[in-house]
């Protein structure tokens, strides 16, 4: 039986990804580390503030992990939530696990504690880069219902590797935010196919915004994570310069495109609409030579 990553809770994802009985949670329930800001607004709190952190092993490699729970406030980052992730990353700088896994599912900053959330996201970004500079790869997985948006979409791209499923979505401003600001003609947030062509896993893979794409299953994510740990990281000026070239080429080549389909056509996909129907293996094989990376 395939365990859907998309449908699973953060705790189920951790249980499915890590070696059996290897997970040890930090700041578990009895610690009751909840957000102090939600009570003031008469909003319910969660005992883990929507993120589960700890250590464990995957394919017998020691890793640290933080998993956001989309079911609590859409995985939004508040003061405590952000501080837990920062703690994991700083601990990685100190203890050098084989990798840090970030299972991201979030709309970004939690507006109920907006300023604290924004600073927290910034602290996460710096902490991710500190871990990488210390030689610890940071691996991001995105495949949940809420996608990965807002400042955490930036934080995700600070990591060493991003693994997405086709159902995963990654961006900065979510479709609703843009529609509210600029109107439905600019971006129709209810047009699911349009949203998918803009921020969905296959589009992100073809652009080179994610490194690996996997079918929606916990086992598939696990294999990709294991491979990413093996592959390691390249935090270097040369790698940054290479990324710069890729991003410069992208705006030059696709800057005038109006739709994801135009980009795919430009990448040599004769029938862009067929791409949505391909299963993952077929898609990955067909994408060889038809990706902007």
């Amino acid at each position: 039986m395939i365990h859907s990553y998309y449908e699973s809770s953060a705790r189920a994802r951790i249980a499915g990804l890590l070696d059996a009985d290897s997970f040890h949670e930090w700041l578990f329930a009895e610690d009751r580390v909840t957000s102090p800001h939600l009570a003031i607004l008469e909003q319910p709190a969660a005992f883990d503030d929507g993120v589960i952190i700890g250590q464990g092993s995957i394919a017998e490699k020691q890793i640290f992990i933080a998993a956001q729970e989309g079911g609590f406030m859409g995985g939004a980052v508040g003061e405590v939530h952000g501080a837990k992730i920062v703690g994991v990353l700083e601990r990685a700088v100190r203890d050098h696990p084989a990798a840090v896994l970030l299972l991201l599912e979030t709309g970004g900053v939690r507006l109920q504690e907006a300023n604290a959330g924004l600073i927290a996201v910034s602290e996460v970004m710096r902490a991710i880069l500190s871990a990488r500079a210390a030689g610890v790869p940071v691996i991001v997985a995105i495949g949940g219902q809420y996608g990965c948006f807002g400042g955490m979409g930036i934080a995700a791209r600070c990591a060493s590797t991003i693994i997405m499923s086709e159902e995963g979505r990654l961006g900065l401003s979510g479709p609703e935010v843009i529609e509210t600001a600029r109107g439905v003609e600019e971006y129709d947030s209810r047009d699911r196919a349009l949203v998918w062509r803009t921020v969905g896993g296959k589009h992100r893979y073809l652009l080179g915004e994610c490194d690996m794409i996997v079918p929606d299953g916990i086992a598939a994510f696990q294999h990709a994570i294991t491979a990413s740990i093996e592959k390691g990281d390249d935090w270097s000026l040369a790698a940054l310069e290479q990324e710069h070239q890729l991003l410069a080429d992208r705006v030059k080549r696709f800057g005038a495109c109006k739709d994801g389909r135009d980009i795919w056509r430009e990448l040599g996909w004769a029938d862009p609409d067929a791409l949505a129907m391909m299963d993952n293996d077929e898609f990955v094989a067909a994408a060889q030579g038809h990706r902007a990376k």
Binding site: W26, L27, D31, V33, S35, P36, H37, I40, L41, E79, V80, A83, K84, G87, E90, L111, Q112, A114, N115, A116, G117, L118, I119, A120, V121, S122, E123, M125, L129, S130, A133, G150, G151, I154, A156, C158, L170, G171, L172, S173, I178, A181, R182, E186, Y187, R197, T198, V199, E209, L237, L240, E243, H244, L247, A248, R250, V251, G255, G260, I263
Partner: protein, 233 residues
């Protein structure tokens, strides 16, 4: 304050900062130091091209002027809210800029940022908030989102939010609240060149924001929670 005035006051020994569209680029001299200057103006939205241009400027400083301190002049109404920029992966462009800043820091460039007009969420994360020292002019506007929009999203009335924002720096816009929470190191008043010189003397590469937030009483939980994670058995 208009960027030309800011630059004149920061660099009394002279500067060559020019405006290209909404981008500011150049260098200025203050005391015995030359600073690279990278910034934006006109409350611009930061889209893919602008983030890329700032990243290019950072890489050029790393390449041409090893260890030269970098000043970011921040004036942005946030990330560009366009379908097209999202499709191109604006988050990736922002992250690339942030990584370039981090690379500069680790190669010995001091990074100082000044919010001289306004700073909003996504436009601020990739440069200003990546600095070793992040300062603002007292009248600068810093926020994630206006209270009206926040009320819409959170379904809490704007009146209630306005009321709460008096007692809590956590969701009220404003430079002073960011100072209390450690998001800003200082508000710069008076002699901007003296402020800059002082900032350069106190630069260090550690992220002190959560400790400052605790010391200043504006963010009481971030540091203790992180400490507990570090100490967990």
């Amino acid at each position: 304050m208009e960027w030309k005035k800011v630059v004149e006051q920061m660099f009394p020994a002279g500067h060559e900062v020019r405006q290209e569209g909404d981008l500011l680029l150049g260098q200025g001299r203050c005391g015995k130091h030359t600073f690279a200057v990278i910034g934006t103006t006109n409350h611009t939205e930061v889209g893919a091209e602008l983030a890329l241009a700032m990243a290019a400027a950072v890489l050029a400083v790393i390449h041409d002027h090893p260890a030269r301190p970098i000043v970011f002049l921040v004036d942005t109404s946030g990330q560009r809210l366009r379908h097209r920029d999202e499709m191109l992966g604006l988050n990736g462009y922002m992250a690339h800029l942030a990584k370039c800043v981090e690379m500069a820091r680790r190669r010995g460039h001091a990074i100082i940022s000044l919010v001289y007009e306004q700073a909003l969420s996504g436009g601020f994360l990739a440069n200003g908030m990546m600095a070793d020292v992040c300062a603002a002019l007292p009248q600068a506007e810093i926020r994630v989102m206006g209270l009206a929009a926040m009320a819409r999203v959170t379904r809490i009335s704007e009146e209630r939010l306005a009321e709460l924002s008096i007692s809590s720096p956590v969701f009220a816009p404003g430079a002073h609240n960011y100072l209390l929470m450690g998001g800003l190191d200082a508000l710069w008043e008076g002699d901007l060149s003296a402020c800059l010189t002082d900032a350069l003397e106190h630069v260090d590469a550690t992220d002190h924001r959560r400790v400052r937030g605790l010391e200043r009483g504006g963010r009481m939980f971030a540091d203790p929670v992180t400490q507990r994670v570090l100490a967990s058995a």
